[in-house]
């Protein structure tokens, strides 16, 4: 393991008692310099671009991609540079600009963090964004609101960078929600159709629900520490600060709840499949780099807390939720006909892997999967987009045999599928393998063996549905209309570049051979303790008892997939219509979770809201109006009954007792002046008697 000379922070490399546990912490070569000190340019540029696009886009739509693509190219360059610096020397830099100081201990800041984790994200976001943006230039050609699309797209990428760069939880929340808004705009890009705008709303709204957790969790942690700075919180976690200890578990779980929204963990996953309503580049970016990774990133960023102070109590939930997500959403992917939906559910499933890994304490593995997944999932989406672009349908039953029409798309898609299925030596294999190993090592966590089984089965499922997808899309006969043809170069080039990445990015962390990724990520201010595999070569280092079942599951999945869908190319669609009774409707309806949510929202928006509105009009307002009406009524009674009838009023009661009701009406109509006079005298006499008797 190569290590860099300690510069700023303590060198904390100690071999654990058991030999395979490594504490890694900070060793950084770069703590200053233009690249890290000027990250703000990268953060600000997308927003400026978005603003300028809005300003100039109406004169010429081309400003949209001109500005946006330029921005992403810059992001790519800057991100890559930092990543390069990190790989070669390690970077560690943090800068905060105070925007307000409230009271003695509350400081609001904007800033950026450059360390292993964030520079990885800068690189991923920059790279994937740039490629997707290029792709989108072709894909979105002639579409409505072309310029506006790029504005929102820039915003999306920029918001993600703000989130990633956040040195404090407040800024993180800002980026977090801005990502949500940008996704709302992009998913609902074709807002003329209500389905699309509803999908956008759903995404935003689900995220907002999860954000409650993030906000409350942040507040709890920040209050306990007295600062929003993540580094302060993590330091307190390392030092087992008493105040933090009390809230660490709850705070961590709440943060994870926030992450569940962005990273679409079960049962808050419902928005992600619907988000396919947006244009395909949006899906690619969202699934690969900019939105769903945010939750995983957050877990990674706060990992010392989860791993240390919050401990098993918090982490077990992370793992279980992740496992549930990877299995349950993977199953749903089996029954989807919409190619993008398959990919969407596969993303969910893969996110489940990442979260499970982090829950299990496998920090590097989880983030490594994030890293590899970003490339092959972006590729899959762009490939799917390319196919959709060609056949003008999302339904795989309208495709088939596309490998003949679109060879480049086919080839790259196939590579990415295999990578996703975890076939050696493609990118996905290495990361998934590490996750399985990580889960295996998580002995302290309850039910970790079971989770390992789930993850292995998940690998099988993943392989199976990807095989199905490839088979239905690219093999067999073309079932759609018109003549599909290969996408233009601006779209295929990104595919091919991503294809290369999909093959190779896994090689940066091969146990026993080269574990650079582990080191790169370890460049950070706060120590990480995790299980890590060491060895002379990867065959030796690999824990085959875990890795082999995973690989076998993948191969098995592909094999069965080929058997089911590969044989008779003419009837594959027929066979796809095979239904398993109870299970199929359950999967088809996503376990009815969506329906439950709709019912719930309907309940709130309908009866509950109406009840409140009713309360407003018929209870509170009724009291208010009632007082008014009462006063008016009282006025009538006092005026007509007391004031104008004077003493008759009293004497009627008098006479009424004596049974003289016959005279009642006449009494009321007789001369008033004498009633006045009577009242006058009676009033005085009563007062005299009163004051004499009751002194």
């Amino acid at each position: 393991m190569s290590r860099f000379a300690p510069l700023l922070f303590r060198l904390a490399e100690e071999t654990g008692e058991h030999g395979d546990e490594v504490h890694h912490a900070v060793e950084a070569g770069v703590t200053s310099g233009w690249a890290v000190e000027n990250v703000w340019i990268m953060l600000l540029l997308p927003f400026v671009a978005a603003f300028l696009i809005v300003l100039f886009g109406r004169f010429d739509e081309k400003w949209g991609h001109r500005l946006a693509v330029t921005t992403t190219v810059y992001m790519f360059l800057h991100g890559s540079w930092i990543w390069y610096l990190n790989i070669t020397q390690g970077v560690l830099y943090e800068k905060s600009i105070v925007i307000a100081e409230i009271g003695s201990n509350w400081v609001l800041e904007w800033g950026w963090v450059v360390d292993g984790l964030s520079s990885m994200m800068y690189f991923v976001v920059g790279t994937v964004s740039m490629l997707v943006f290029f792709y989108a230039v072709g894909y979105m050609k002639g579409e409505i609101r072309y310029a506006g699309f790029f504005a929102a797209f820039s915003l999306f990428a920029g918001a993600m960078l703000v989130l990633v760069a956040a040195p404090n939880l407040a800024q993180l929340i800002v980026g977090w929600e801005l990502v949500g808004v940008a996704s709302y705009l992009l998913i609902g890009h074709y807002w003329e159709d209500k389905t699309n705008s509803s999908a956008g709303m759903k995404a935003f709204f689900t995220n907002k629900v999860a954000d409650v957790g993030l906000i409350i969790g942040s507040i709890m942690l920040a209050t306990a520490v007295g600062s929003f700075r993540i580094s302060d919180i993590l330091t307190a976690a390392e030092e087992h600060a008493h105040d933090l200890e009390a809230v660490a578990v709850v705070g961590a779980i709440l943060l994870f709840f926030g992450a569940m929204g962005k990273s679409a963990q079960f049962p808050l996953h419902v928005w992600l499949p619907d988000a396919m309503a947006g244009p395909t580049p949006v899906s690619a970016l969202m699934h690969a780099a900019t939105m769903v990774t945010a939750g995983v990133y957050l877990l990674g960023r706060m990992f010392p807390l989860f791993e240390g102070l919050a401990g098993v109590e918090a982490r077990q939930w992370v793992m279980w939720i992740g496992a549930a997500t990877l299995l349950l959403t993977g199953l749903i992917a089996l029954v989807q006909r919409d190619i993008k939906k398959v990919l969407a559910y596969s993303t969910l499933s893969q996110l489940g892997y990442m979260v499970t890994a982090l829950g299990a304490g496998a920090y590097t593995a989880g983030l490594f999967h994030l890293f590899t997944h970003a490339f092959f999932k972006a590729l899959l989406f762009l490939g799917a987009g390319s196919a959709i672009h060609a056949v003008h349908s999302n339904d795989m039953h309208d495709m088939g045999g596309l490998r003949k029409f679109m060879p480049r798309t086919y080839a790259t898609f196939l590579v990415a599928s295999l990578a996703l299925a975890g076939i050696i030596p493609l990118a996905g294999y290495w990361s998934k393998d590490e996750i399985l190993v990580g889960i295996n090592a998580a002995e302290g966590l309850p039910a970790s063996e079971f989770v390992l089984w789930v993850a292995t089965v998940g690998a099988f499922i993943t392989a199976f549905y990807m095989t199905r997808t490839v088979a239905l899309t690219f093999f067999g006969q073309y079932k759609g209309h018109g003549h599909p043809h290969e996408a233009p170069a601006i779209m295929t080039w990104p595919l091919m570049i991503l294809g290369v990445f999909s093959v190779g990015v896994g090689w940066v962390n091969i146990p026993g051979v080269y574990t650079g990724f582990t080191d790169w990520l370890a460049v950070r201010a706060h120590a990480i303790v995790e299980h890590h595999v060491e060895g002379a070569n990867w065959i030796e280092a690999t824990e085959w008892g875990v890795a082999l079942p995973g690989l076998v599951a993948g191969v098995l999945g592909i094999t069965i997939g080929v058997i089911v869908f590969g044989r008779d190319e003419g009837t594959q669609a027929e066979r796809d219509r095979f239904r398993i009774p109870v299970l199929y409707p359950l999967l088809e309806n996503q376990y009815y979770i969506d329906d439950f949510y709709l019912w719930l929202v309907g309940l709130i928006k309908g009866p509950l809201a109406r009840a409140i509105d009713w309360t407003n009009s018929y209870v509170i307002d009724a009291v208010v109006n009632g007082v008014g009406v009462l006063m008016a009524g009282l006025g009538r009674i006092v005026y007509g009954g007391v004031d104008q009838r004077g003493i008759d009023f009293a004497f009627t009661a008098f006479a009424g007792a004596a049974g003289g009701s016959g005279g009642l009406l006449r009494r009321l109509q007789t001369g008033r002046v004498q009633q006045y006079a009577g009242a006058f005298v009676i009033g005085a006499v009563l007062l005299v008697i009163g004051f004499t008797l009751f002194r």
Binding site: I102, E192, K605, L608, R610
Partner: protein, 522 residues
């Protein structure tokens, strides 16, 4: 400069609009452009004075009031003409002067029936004088006067230029024009509250030694006043007056009616400034003068605030009228402000102030938009709108942006108020029931979800989708010059406050710190 040391400068914020009002009143009714110019120039001059005050204001100085004066006014009751500003009132004063200018610009070519620009502008200027005066007054009697002065112009605005459609009053089977119902309700409600507020002021006066109406003077005597056996009742009286104005649940029902019925500019001023008079009163008077009682009442205030948040949001979901929805949203937003105040902490009160400013900017803009849309569609029924983004893209995008700001999107003005109110509620003043406040925080946070819900839902109904068939042949004029001039500053401020909240905190933090230190001893 003399202007700033003898209180003349601050007094100008009241005097200038009044002078403008008199000039407008003296112009012949036909010369509308003259009236507009006069009104605009006066409001601009007032804004300039406010900016001047902000420039000479010493921000570092926490305690104490600046740029003010204290002159005899009614010696018989020891009431003085005492004015001055601190970091708490400065942002509110600036907001008031700022919104007034925009309201007048917007009015340039937007007149609700029966038009009559002369009267309308006159009322705006009188309103401005009242609003500015409330924020600079340092004497309870003076405060009371200004607090009440704003009622009259608003009453007339709603009553004369308001919504003329009939409204049926449920249960009682009465039908009357919305404007009449709303105007009356607005006035009677506020008067009811302020009558008890006045009793509270008097009780403070008589129990002070030496007797005084001066706010700083009373604050100096806070311990003695707090020890009075009936101090709780005094606080209740003050709180009632302010709570009606805020408005806090369950005293809020005048608000949806008044906001909905008022003419556009009326709604804007009502939402942007008038509501703040109540919450400002809490911060300026109720809490520092009777801190112990404020502490006793804080849980109740917090609970009512949270009920307001949830209740207001749910009520929004049931609205079919766009303007009424926006109106109801104020109940929720002011709930956050009150939650912040109820925490009695620096962070909470700062949150309340920035929340007030942000709500003024954002909801003001929303009402401008609702008005302009009504101007074009002649309906506010959301069921009939739709596809606004296609028909009027600029209007639609501004609406979307503002709605996003209103739902508390981070990076925009609305966020800090909500977020910090929750932050404050998590850790209220020592001695307050933290469990209750944390419950309030969680509920409030859930309220943010509902807020997002109704605003997104409104956007979907109004902005998105295909335009309805009934608008097929219509030509719609997108945002015009005057509208843009009035709105751009608001848009800019929405972003600025979100990105750089120090614009407000810079002024408020030292003042709030001093306030909390004095009241609760740190």
């Amino acid at each position: 400069m003399e202007l700033w040391t003898n209180g003349a400068g601050l007094s100008l914020t009241v005097v200038l609009p009044l002078v403008g009002a008199v000039i407008v009143g003296l112009t012949p009714r036909a010369s509308e452009s003259l009236q507009k110019v006069v009104a605009l120039l006066t409001s601009l001059a007032t804004l300039a004075v406010t900016v001047g005050a902000a420039l000479v204001f010493e921000y570092g100085q926490g305690a104490g009031f600046q740029l003010g004066t204290d002159r005899p006014w009614i010696p018989g009751i020891d009431a003085t003409y005492a004015v001055g500003i601190d970091g708490i009132s400065l942002p509110m004063l600036a907001l008031s002067a700022f919104i007034t200018v925009l309201a007048i610009i917007y009015s340039w070519n937007h007149w609700d029936e029966p038009k009559n620009p002369k009267a309308f502008l006159l009322l705006i200027l009188v309103l401005a004088a009242g609003m500015n005066g409330t924020f600079i007054a340092l004497d309870l009697v003076l405060f009371f006067i200004f607090f009440e002065i704003v009622l009259l112009p608003m009453y007339f605005m709603i009553g004369i230029w308001g919504d003329k459609t009939p409204r049926s009053v449920p249960i009682f089977g009465i039908t009357m024009e919305t404007r009449l119902y709303a105007a009356l309700k607005f006035f009677v409600f506020t008067l009811f509250g302020s009558a008890f507020m006045l009793l509270g002021f008097l009780a403070l006066y008589f129990n002070a030694d030496p007797q005084t109406f001066s706010i700083p003077g009373l604050i100096a005597q806070a311990p003695a006043l707090g020890a009075l056996p009936f101090a709780g009742w005094i606080f209740a009286g003050l709180a009632l007056g302010f709570a009606v104005k805020v408005p806090m649940w369950p005293f809020h029902t005048w608000l949806p009616d008044a906001h909905t019925a008022a003419p556009t500019v009326g709604s804007v001023l009502l939402a942007a400034i008038l509501l703040k008079l109540g919450s400002y009163g809490f911060i300026r008077i109720a809490i520092p003068v009777l801190p112990e009682q404020a502490k006793e009442f804080a849980p109740a205030i917090a609970v009512l605030a949270v009920i307001g948040i949830i209740y207001g949001s749910l009520a929004c979901l049931a609205q079919t009228d766009m303007k009424r929805l926006i109106a109801f949203s104020s109940v929720g937003h002011m709930g956050f402000v009150m939650l912040g105040i109820a925490t009695m902490t620096e962070i909470g009160i700062n949150a309340a102030i920035i929340g007030m400013v942000a709500h003024g900017v954002i909801t003001g803009l929303l009402f401008f938009l609702a008005g302009s849309m009504h101007h074009r569609y002649h309906t506010r029924e959301m069921a009939r709108l739709g596809g606004n983004l296609a028909l009027m893209p600029k209007m639609g995008w501004i609406l979307s942006f503002t709605a996003m700001a209103s739902l508390g999107l981070p990076g925009l003005a609305g966020f800090w108020g909500e977020f910090m109110a929750l932050l404050g509620a998590y850790n209220p003043l020592p001695g307050l029931d933290a469990g209750l406040f944390r419950g309030a925080m969680v509920t409030g946070a859930i309220g943010t979800v509902l807020t997002a819900g109704y605003l997104l839902w409104m956007l979907q109904k109004v902005n998105l989708g295909e335009p309805k068939a009934e608008w097929a042949g219509h030509e719609f004029h997108d945002v015009d010059r005057y509208e843009m001039t009035a709105w751009l500053p608001l848009l800019a401020f929405t972003v600025l406050l979100g990105v750089y909240p120090k614009l407000v905190f810079g002024a408020t933090v030292p003042a709030v710190e001093a306030l909390v230190q004095t009241a609760f001893g740190g």
